[in-house]
Amino acid sequence: MSQSLSDATPSSASPPTIIELFIAFSIISLSGFGGVLYWSRRMLVEQRKWMTAAEFNDAYALCQILPGPTIVNLSVVFGRSIRGLPGAAVALAGLIGPGLVIVIFLAFLYSIFGTIDALQRMLTGVAAAAAGLIISMTGKMAEPLFEDNNWLVYGVVLAVFVATGLLRWPVWWVLLVLIPLSIVIAWRAQR
């Protein structure tokens, strides 16, 4: 359990119940188009006040570097800190469940209508735009790196990009080499 979440002064009068947890994460999931980070902060910090902004930042920073989808990690870490393992389970179910049902329905429609010309043309446009959004996200993620101006760090970014993006090497082998290397670089940069 995350100590900073459980031991901190409660941000709201009473901790949420299992059902409240499920509902909150369902709403987060259903409001979030193109990612749910914004909505999770809004729900947990601003509307329900279950976490302070600082607690959220802390939990988010951890969940971002944990393997797997960030918001999925956040739901289980938060759910567990509030209501133990059942809390983690319902938070996750609330987050994944509704989207899962909708997307299976979409996939079903796609398997029937995916070849229709008009739909195909619309998807072509959306796919191109979606690719643009992930380029922009890369830019936003990279911005803070330029403050440190460490060439070795740029090298790691470039190596991961070239190996997995251009050369299409297996991601696990690339990361098994580059993650330790990157941590050593970060370690040495600390002094």
Binding site: P67, V103, L106, G125, G132, L133, S136, G165, I185
Partner: protein
């Protein structure tokens, strides 16, 4: 498609492994997933992969939902459930375990180094995802321009991505993308 147990096991194994290498969010899993489903197993074309990425983006919910679409395409509803669970399960177990340790070593030097060291990895993976998705989505020079304009607009302006998708769908519909 009627899935047999073999393909479900294959999906479970690969996606569970992939989830542990998805550094920096669901997009970090794109390079590995594309390599598996388009290049190695040839379960779908590049074009279909781009479609699924697009569908996942316009569906409410976490972006990780693309694995559900891929699973459905490969092995129907059973496949969708298997890939989704495999993608979330190991990562969740890891999060529960590490979440506990992490705060205990809040200011430990090794913790700070791990945290800082994973940042460039996640950026590199996201950049690779961007390249792979952009390449798969490029059907003409107009669609490449659309990608670049969408990138610039969302980088510069705070705008709900749905508007960008709506305009892009319209452009596509009239045959401009």
């Amino acid at each position: 498609m009627k899935p047999d147990g073999g393909i479900l096991l294959t999906l479970a194994g690969y996606f569970a492994l992939m989830s542990l290498f998805a550094i920096g969010g669901a997009n970090g899993a794109i390079p590995g997933m594309h390599r598996l489903v388009v290049e190695t197993k040839e379960w779908m074309t590049d074009r279909q992969f781009a479609d699924m990425f697009a569908l996942a983006q316009v569906t409410p919910g976490p972006n990780v939902i693309i694995v559900t679409l891929v699973g459905y395409h490969v092995a129907g509803i059973a496949g969708a459930l298997v890939t989704t669970l495999a993608m979330c399960g190991p990562a969740c177990a890891f999060a529960l375990f590490v979440g506990r340790l992490w705060d205990r070593f809040r200011s430990a030097r090794w913790r700070v180094a791990i945290q800082a060291g994973l940042v460039p990895i996640s950026i590199g993976l996201t950049a690779a995802s961007a390249l792979i998705v952009a390449r798969a989505a490029s059907t003409s020079w107009v669609s490449v321009v659309l990608t670049l304009v969408a990138a610039a607009v969302s980088f510069r302006l705070t705008i709900n991505p749905l508007w960008i998708f709506a305009v892009a769908a319209l452009l596509g519909l009239v045959g401009l993308a």
